[in-house]
C-alpha cells in the first residue's frame, strides 16, 4: 500500500500529459473508427460491408471520458439507414424513403403509397441488438430485426391490426405495395445474407400453416364463416380431414383445419393455395371483406401466432 502511494505521487508532469494525450487519442481513434463505419454504412455498394458496418455501429460506444460527440445517430437510426440503403442497393426503394434526414437522432421513414404515415425502429427492451419496426403513431411492432443474429420476424397480429384495421379505407393496392416492399426486403436478407426469416401472415408459399391462437375453434366460428361465405356466393365445403375449405377467386383455395387431429391438443389454423403463391393470410383479409369481418368478429380465437418470446 505504501509503495503504491509513493508511486502515484511520483507521476511526472510529462507522464500526466502523455496519459491525457493517449486518452484523447484513443477517443479520437474510436471516433474515426465510428466515422469509417459510418462512411461505409452510407456509401458502400457492397451488401456485406453494409451489413457489417451496421452491426458494428449498433451499440457503438462513441463517447469516452475525454472525447464526447454531441451529435450522434441513434442505434435505431442505424437500423433505418441500413434498411433504406439495402432497399436502394437492391433497386426496390421507390415507394420508400427516410422522411426527415435533416433531423439527426430520430429518423423516420415513409411509404409513398401510405401517405403521411411515418415509421421508425425501436430498440427491444429484451435484447439490445433487436429492433422493432412500426408506425410512429402507435408503435405496433410490425417486424423484428436483429442484424447481428441475422433474424427478421414479422408479427402477424400487429401487421393485421395496422394494415387491415388501422388503414381500413385506403386503396388495397397501396397497402399491398408497402407490404410487398417489406417482404421483398426480407427475401433479400434471406437469400443474399442468410437471414432467418419468419414471414408469418405474409408468407405466400402454398401450404404455409397460419396457426390460430386459440388452438381450438368453437363450432359457431365455422358456422359464421359458412353463413358469411354463402352471403358472398362462396360455399364453405367440408373436407375429409374434419376441416373446411373455400374456393375463392383466381383459383385461390383457403382451408381451415385442425393440424393435430389425432393428438389431444387441437391445433387449428389455415392454409392458402394459389397458382402464383402470392396470396397470404393478410392479403386474403384485404381481398375478401367478409373473411376480414369474420376474422375481426372472432379475433380472440383466430389471431395468428407469432414468436411469443420476442414479441411477448
Amino acid at each position: 500500500m505504501v509503495s503504491n502511494e509513493t508511486e502515484e505521487k511520483t507521476i511526472t508532469t510529462n507522464e500526466l500529459l502523455a496519459n491525457y494525450s493517449d486518452s484523447v487519442q484513443n477517443g479520437l481513434d474510436n471516433g474515426s473508427k465510428y466515422l469509417q463505419a459510418f462512411h461505409t454504412l452510407s456509401e458502400t455498394t457492397d451488401g456485406q460491408s453494409l451489413l457489417s458496418a451496421a452491426v458494428s455501429l449498433t451499440n457503438f460506444k462513441l463517447n469516452s471520458d475525454f472525447v464526447t460527440f454531441p451529435h450522434q445517430f441513434s442505434d435505431e437510426d442505424v437500423q433505418l439507414i441500413f434498411f433504406e440503403r439495402l432497399l436502394s442497393l437492391s433497386g426496390i426503394e421507390n415507394n420508400f424513403r427516410i422522411s426527415n434526414p435533416q433531423r439527426v437522432q430520430k429518423l423516420l421513414c415513409k411509404f409513398d403509397s401510405l401517405g403521411d404515415q411515418t415509421f421508425t425502429f425501436t430498440k427491444s427492451t429484451k435484447n439490445s441488438d433487436g429492433f422493432f419496426f412500426g408506425p410512429t403513431l402507435n408503435n405496433r411492432p410490425l417486424f423484428y430485426l436483429n442484424l447481428k443474429n441475422k433474424e427478421l420476424m414479422f408479427h402477424g397480429a400487429s401487421l393485421i391490426e395496422y394494415f387491415v384495421v388501422d388503414l381500413d379505407g385506403l386503396e388495397i393496392d397501396a397497402i399491398k405495395n408497402a407490404l410487398e416492399l417489406l417482404t421483398k426486403a426480407a427475401a433479400i436478407l434471406k437469400e443474399n445474407f442468410g437471414f432467418k426469416i419468419d414471414f408469418n401472415v405474409l408468407d405466400g408459399v402454398n401450404g404455409e400453416f397460419y396457426q390460430f391462437a386459440a388452438g381450438t375453434l368453437s363450432e359457431d366460428v365455422m358456422d359464421e364463416l359458412f353463413v358469411k361465405s354463402a352471403e358472398n356466393h362462396f360455399v364453405l365445403m367440408a373436407e375429409d380431414n374434419g376441416g373446411a375449405s373455400l374456393t375463392l377467386g383466381n383459383g385461390t383455395k383457403m382451408t381451415v383445419y385442425d393440424a393435430n387431429q389425432n393428438g389431444n391438443r387441437p391445433k387449428w389454423g389455415a392454409t392458402i393455395r394459389d397458382d402464383q403463391q402470392n396470396e397470404n393470410w393478410l392479403y386474403l383479409l384485404l381481398d375478401y371483406p367478409f373473411i376480414k369481418k369474420w376474422y375481426l368478429n372472432n379475433q380472440k380465437q383466430l389471431e395468428i401466432l407469432s414468436n411469443q418470446f420476442i414479441f411477448g
Binding site: M222, D223, L225, F226, V235, A238
Partner: protein
C-alpha cells in the same frame, strides 16, 4: 284300391317336390350367377319378379310370378352392399348433391351436399332402389320451397323476432343515462311531495301524485334490471340467429342444387318416385350396349 291311389298320389308328390326343389336350386344358382357376373338387373328381377314385371315389362302381363326371394332374404344386407356399388355410381351422376355413408353393412346414410355441416337427409335403400328421407329434414326443405314462392324463408319470422328483441334491449341499455336522470327527478319530486302539508281537501291529490311517482320509479327500476341482464340475452339471441342463418344457408344450397339438377322440386319428387324404373332401365340399356360390343 285305396292304397294304389295313395301310391300314385305320393309318387306324383315326389315329382312335384323334386321339381319345386329344382326350381329353388335354379333360383339360387341364378342369383349366385348374377352376383358373380355383376348382373344387377337380373338380381333385381330375381329379388322381386312382380315389381320388375310391373314396372319394366314391355307388354302387360297379368300373371303373377313366383317369388323365391324368401330363400335369400336373410342375405339382404350383403345383397344391399353388393347392389349399392353400381347404384351409387348411377346416383352420383343423377343426384350429384347426395353423399352416402355405409354406417353398417348394406345400410347407408344420405347426406345432402358436402358443404360445411351438411344435413343427414335419411337413408338409401338399395334393395328397393328408394330414398327413405328423414321426415323432418324433408318437410323443412319442402316448406322452404313452398315459402320461396311467396318470397319468404322458413326462419324469417323467428329471426326477425330475435333481431327486434336485440334492438329493443340495445335501446334499453343505451337509454340508461336518461332513466337515471328521470329517477333523480322523481326522487326530488317525491321529496317535495313528502314535505307538503296539504289542506285536507288537497290531501287526496297529493297522495295520488305520490302513488304516480312511485309507480313510475318502479317501472324504471324494472327496465334497469332488464337492461343490466340484457347483454347475455343479446349474445344468446345472436347465437340463435346464427344457427337459423346457417339453417337457411343450408336450405338455400339444397334448393340451388335441386334446381340445378332437376329444374324444380316437383321434378325432383317425380324422379324419386320413378327411381326404381329409371335405374333399372339404365341398367338394361347398359347391358344392351355391352351385349352389342
Amino acid at each position: 284300391m285305396e292304397r294304389q291311389m295313395e301310391t300314385d298320389q305320393f309318387s306324383q308328390n315326389d315329382t312335384l317336390l323334386s321339381s319345386a326343389l329344382n326350381e329353388k336350386m335354379q333360383y339360387l344358382n341364378d342369383l349366385n350367377d348374377s352376383v358373380k357376373n355383376g348382373d344387377d338387373l337380373q338380381i333385381y328381377q330375381l329379388m322381386d319378379p312382380n315389381r320388375y314385371a310391373n314396372e319394366l315389362a314391355t307388354e302387360e302381363t297379368e300373371e303373377s310370378q313366383t317369388d323365391h326371394f324368401g330363400l335369400a332374404s336373410d342375405l339382404t344386407a350383403q345383397l344391399s352392399h353388393h347392389l349399392s356399388n353400381k347404384l351409387i355410381d348411377y346416383l352420383g351422376a343423377t343426384y350429384p348433391f347426395f353423399y352416402y355413408h355405409e354406417y353398417e353393412l348394406g345400410k347407408f346414410h344420405i347426406y345432402f351436399g358436402n358443404w360445411w355441416d351438411h344435413r343427414m337427409f335419411g337413408e338409401l335403400d338399395p334393395i328397393n332402389v328408394r330414398f327413405n328421407f328423414d321426415d323432418n329434414e324433408y318437410q323443412m326443405l319442402s316448406k322452404s320451397f313452398q315459402l320461396e314462392a311467396e318470397n319468404r324463408r322458413v326462419n324469417d319470422d323467428t329471426m326477425q323476432k330475435l333481431g327486434d328483441e336485440n334492438e329493443r334491449i340495445t335501446k334499453l341499455i343505451g337509454e340508461q343515462d336518461q332513466r337515471d336522470k328521470r329517477k333523480e327527478e322523481i326522487r326530488e319530486q317525491l321529496k317535495e311531495n313528502q314535505e307538503k302539508s296539504p289542506m285536507p281537501w288537497e290531501a287526496g291529490k297529493v297522495k295520488e301524485e305520490r302513488q304516480r311517482l312511485n309507480d313510475e320509479m318502479l317501472k324504471l327500476t324494472q327496465i334497469d334490471e332488464e337492461a343490466t341482464g340484457g347483454r347475455p340475452t343479446i349474445k344468446e339471441n345472436e347465437n340463435k340467429i346464427l344457427a337459423l342463418s346457417k339453417e337457411e344457408t343450408i336450405l338455400s344450397l339444397e334448393k340451388q342444387n335441386i334446381r340445378a339438377t332437376f329444374g324444380s322440386f316437383d321434378a325432383f319428387i317425380e324422379n324419386n318416385n320413378n327411381l326404381y324404373t329409371k335405374y333399372l332401365q339404365s341398367l338394361s340399356k347398359e347391358s344392351q350396349v355391352s351385349d352389342g360390343e
